[in-house]
Symmetry: C2
Amino acid sequence: MAAALDVIGIGNAIVDVIARAEEALLVTHNLAKGSMTLIDAAQAESFYAAMGAGVECSGGSAANTIAGIASLGGKGGYIGKVKADQLGQVFAHDIRAMGVQFSSKPGQESAPTARCLILVTPDGQRTMQTYLGACVELGPEDVDPAEIQGAQVTYLEGYLWDPPRAKDAFRKAILAAKAAGRKTSLSLSDSFCVDRYRPEFLDLVQKGDIDILFANEAEILSLFEAKDFNEALQEARKLPGIVALTRSEKGCVIVDGPKDEVHVVDAAPIAKLVDTTGAGDLYASGFLYGLTHGQPLPVCGRLAGVCAAEIIQQVGARPQAPLKDKLRAVLA
Amino acid sequence: MAAALDVIGIGNAIVDVIARAEEALLVTHNLAKGSMTLIDAAQAESFYAAMGAGVECSGGSAANTIAGIASLGGKGGYIGKVKADQLGQVFAHDIRAMGVQFSSKPGQESAPTARCLILVTPDGQRTMQTYLGACVELGPEDVDPAEIQGAQVTYLEGYLWDPPRAKDAFRKAILAAKAAGRKTSLSLSDSFCVDRYRPEFLDLVQKGDIDILFANEAEILSLFEAKDFNEALQEARKLPGIVALTRSEKGCVIVDGPKDEVHVVDAAPIAKLVDTTGAGDLYASGFLYGLTHGQPLPVCGRLAGVCAAEIIQQVGARPQAPLKDKLRAVLA
């Protein structure tokens, strides 16, 4: 059956608040650079007061990936929970304005729309603190099996393990996708997130629930508790699905264990690193766009690299200019 | 008496929603490029739905100017009305995070915090539609004469003529400033705004209520109903105060009528025009920072030009990097 959508994503629907910060602020607040920490409403309020002036952009890891796919000209759908408040309206507007199908009902009585307070240090690295707000309402009732089965790939973020019932939504989506012979994909999201849920993530990828796994170096080391990248790579080769391993300026390694293939792809060049927010998310956009448009894995990796390069040269994780203009250079 | 503040601004407190757009969208909606149009809540909702994905940044013309002064290392204060809603919290956070004194009480039962829907066309020009929301609540009760008298300069935006009672706040502030021997300054804001209130603006500047007037070419032509820039310039020379006339890439002309001086200042060079939002506002930041720090008019003009050049090379009207790092090049 022809798919209505290329990729449907499920994730925490979040508005990012991005501010420049000196390294000292990370030290004062005991934040590990590049990581994502969960905070509650009171912590969010107190940390926001300590933060510099910011810019608000729609975010959320899987939502960024789907927005990227739409920006490439692909057909995307998204499932995630906001509240019917001003930031929830911003989130819903922005993802629909990209052409993404987004029909999740906003909460009326829930906590406010989720916010991610992002500090961008002078080296361009981002450090995130997330107040999950309305995201904790996401549950299996928000997943329509028919919508999942209408997508070539169902894409899930590891962060879904944090809110209480989102993993049930995640599992329902995987079952629906598999039942229809569709593909599933997971991003490991963050190495600390992998630390929190290692046995469950390992189980998912080892038993074949995940067809395409995305991980950066810290995340794959954490998943396999490996001492170095090569050890983690050898473990990844044993998995039953495809694994895309991102290595920042070193490019990426794409592993197809069943076919015993390993593709090493260079990073796309950039003029100036501005803000790494969304690098992994947009890598997944390029990769999944390629995969759902019949491209071989090395081309998927190059497309992924071009999208990641584009997003780290701007503030925020949603592409400001259409990514489809970047396709020609890779596909020609 | 030494001043507690360098500059206090009064203006419409607004959150900007900035999105890239093609010229065709301006044509479809009959919008004059570079202008500001007032819209109501229903129009704001319907136009927002037609707009692309955006980025939210605190804005408001005078608020941008004061944020710029703080970014230069100056002491700024701001008076303006938001609602106690999510966007109002964003506005208050951002201006305070810059170090600006902002004690205006947010409305509890008012309309929502004001929004300005900004379309940035591929040529970098911005076209704005403003929903005034909570700004219509601003009145003379929000102006504390002691706070005004504690500032070297009181800075007002012409846009204050749009909400019903803000002009009363404006007049109260001018009286307070003048009574304490402080200076007053006005930005003409927008040529269509000048069209709406020409007699009142002419009266203000001709009778000496305004010590420093800011206007771009379209605004000064509109004020004097002049046929060309030279004619407007000759009219400006007759005014009892200083007039800073901005001419985009042609730089600026600073007129000191009483001293019979005209200073022509080149524009600061830029690498790439990204978004002109805030160009005039940040010009005023640099100028007033210079003036309140004892700089002669040509240096004020150069500082102004450097600040304007900085802001048009980024998205949004609030400086992302501290402007004080730019001072040395001009003042050394």
